[in-house]
């Protein structure tokens, strides 16, 4: 049986994620110990929380070391919202280093209203070339809720927010997929995108 592991670092929205994986008929288990990080076929770093505290907890529990080992072994990792930002090089919120698998700093949004809360479309061409567009359309919308945004990484495939070349929504390579928004809170289209990530990108 293929399994998903959801990392519990104290502030993630575990209930929402468990619910969406259940609706996709995928077995998901919560991971709280570093020795269980390597086991699941796909490991999810969930969103909702503050970056400094999240990194502190991952480092303090030993899970950060296990995550680095998992990445080095080429085992899939899906980061969602804050979980995606933790994969970047530097986190302005908390002034600390992230895992560094995505280049660039995570910096605060500088335009009023300084938060991106609500539903946005994605650049559909980018979604198609990333291989994630199955059963989605150019009008599909996804729920964002963030104050800090990931920086640029030219080496990775990137899907941007429609009309916002400065706002990466998804970064992906063979090992990681970093999603700035909340697919688990994006209703039907979010579930479809999660399925596409797991099946089409990670081959689950």
């Amino acid at each position: 049986m293929r399994t998903i592991g959801i990392v519990d670092y104290g502030t993630g929205n575990l209930g929402s994620l468990a619910g969406v994986f259940e609706s996709l008929r995928i077995y998901a288990e919560v991971v709280r110990e570093s020795e269980r990080i390597a086991r699941p076929d796909v490991l999810v770093l969930p969103g909702v929380g503050a970056a400094g505290l999240a990194m502190q907890r991952l480092e303090g529990s030993g899970m950060a070391v296990a995550l680095r080992e998992r990445h080095a072994a080429g085992r899939p990792i899906l980061g969602i919202c804050l979980g995606a930002q933790l994969l970047c090089g530097f986190l302005r919120e908390g002034d600390c280093a992230g895992f560094g698998w995505i280049e660039g700093h995570v910096e605060p949004l500088t335009e009023y209203p300084f938060y991106n809360n609500g539903w946005c479309r994605l650049e559909f061409g980018g979604l198609k070339s990333a291989g994630l567009a199955r059963a989605l359309s150019a009008t599909s919308t996804f729920y964002f809720n963030h104050r800090y945004a990931m920086g640029r990484d030219e080496k990775m495939k990137c899907v941007e927010v429609e009309g916002r070349a400065d706002l990466p929504a998804i970064y992906l390579d063979g090992v990681i997929c970093a999603v700035q928004f909340h697919p688990e809170k994006s209703q039907r289209e979010g579930r479809i995108l999660l399925r596409n990530i797991l099946e089409d990108h990670f081959g689950l």
């Binding site: 929205n13 619910g19 909702v48 503050a50 809360n117 919308t141 927010v161 688990e184 039907r188």
Partner: protein, 261 residues
């Protein structure tokens, strides 16, 4: 950037969904789980649960119902949040945004503590307003009086300045007296003037808003969302009708098109 949002507001008292009128009168309106599941099916942009029981803690029964609903619509919660532990249990149940009311008046120092834990994007300051006798508006917080804080009248301007400084993403502006009275909303005169000129945060409007007012409010530059409460228990698939109305009449493309609309 993001589309403006149509928010389904669910008032809860003692664990039961109620139709509320000015937060002073209410009628039972069914169970929380089914209310959440219906709004989820109707593809509202966000659901806001307001527990008006005036407890000093989050109701575990409400948390259990949220957890059991397993919805995939963004979920905000307000009522009885006093500590990071309250937020922990709501987060685990499926909420990702938190409305702070008593805390912003009584324990503002705790807002930063919460923001350090869940991030400022997850926090909303509640601003219940009532008309002043001589005209204008005042921030009106029953809970402040209940907690023994003598000055329950707050100047709107100074409250807005505080909101600008607090680590909160948005402000929930509530027309307290007209809450539940469709078409009674009166905080905005629709000539572009409202009492929150100094506010530099996005505003979620709530309290007695009807379809027409909702569409016009979404056109206000400071608006990020409009909340509808009792309407959801009076009209079948009300929020889908509302979305069609907004897209057809007033706000054009400012709200998203959902599946089937």
């Amino acid at each position: 950037m993001a589309y403006k949002r149509l928010v389904g507001v669910v008032a809860v008292k003692d664990g039961q969904v109620v139709k509320s009128y000015g937060y002073r009168f209410w009628r039972p309106a069914g169970g929380l789980r089914s209310a959440l599941m219906n709004l989820d099916r109707w593809l509202v942009d966000e659901i806001l649960i307001l527990d008006i029981s005036r407890r000093d803690r989050v109701d575990p029964g409400v948390v259990a119902e949220i957890r059991a609903s397993r919805i995939s619509t963004p979920l905000a919660y307000g009522g009885g949040i006093r500590s990071p532990e309250d937020v922990d249990c709501l987060l685990a149940a499926g909420c990702e945004r938190f409305v702070l009311e008593t805390m912003v008046f009584s324990f503002p120092e705790r807002i930063s503590e919460l923001a350090d834990k869940v991030g400022a994007q997850a926090l909303i300051a509640s601003m219940p307003l009532s008309a002043k006798a001589g005209g204008g508006w005042q921030v009106n917080v029953d809970s402040a009086t209940r907690l023994g804080i003598s000055d329950s009248e707050f100047d709107v301007g100074s409250f807005c300045r505080k909101c600008n400084d607090w680590p909160v993403a948005e402000v929930l502006a509530i027309d307290s007296a007209n809450e539940g009275r469709a078409g009674g909303f009166s905080l905005v005169s629709f000539d572009g003037k409202h009492p929150f000129g100094e506010l530099r945060k996005g505003i979620i409007w709530f309290g007695g808003i009807d379809f027409k007012q909702g569409a016009r409010l979404l056109n206000q530059p400071a608006s990020v969302a409009v909340g509808f409460g009792n309407l959801n228990f009076e009209k079948e698939i009300a929020m889908r009708s509302l979305r069609r109305f907004v897209l057809r009449n007033r706000a054009g493309a400012t709200v998203r098109r959902t599946y089937g609309i």
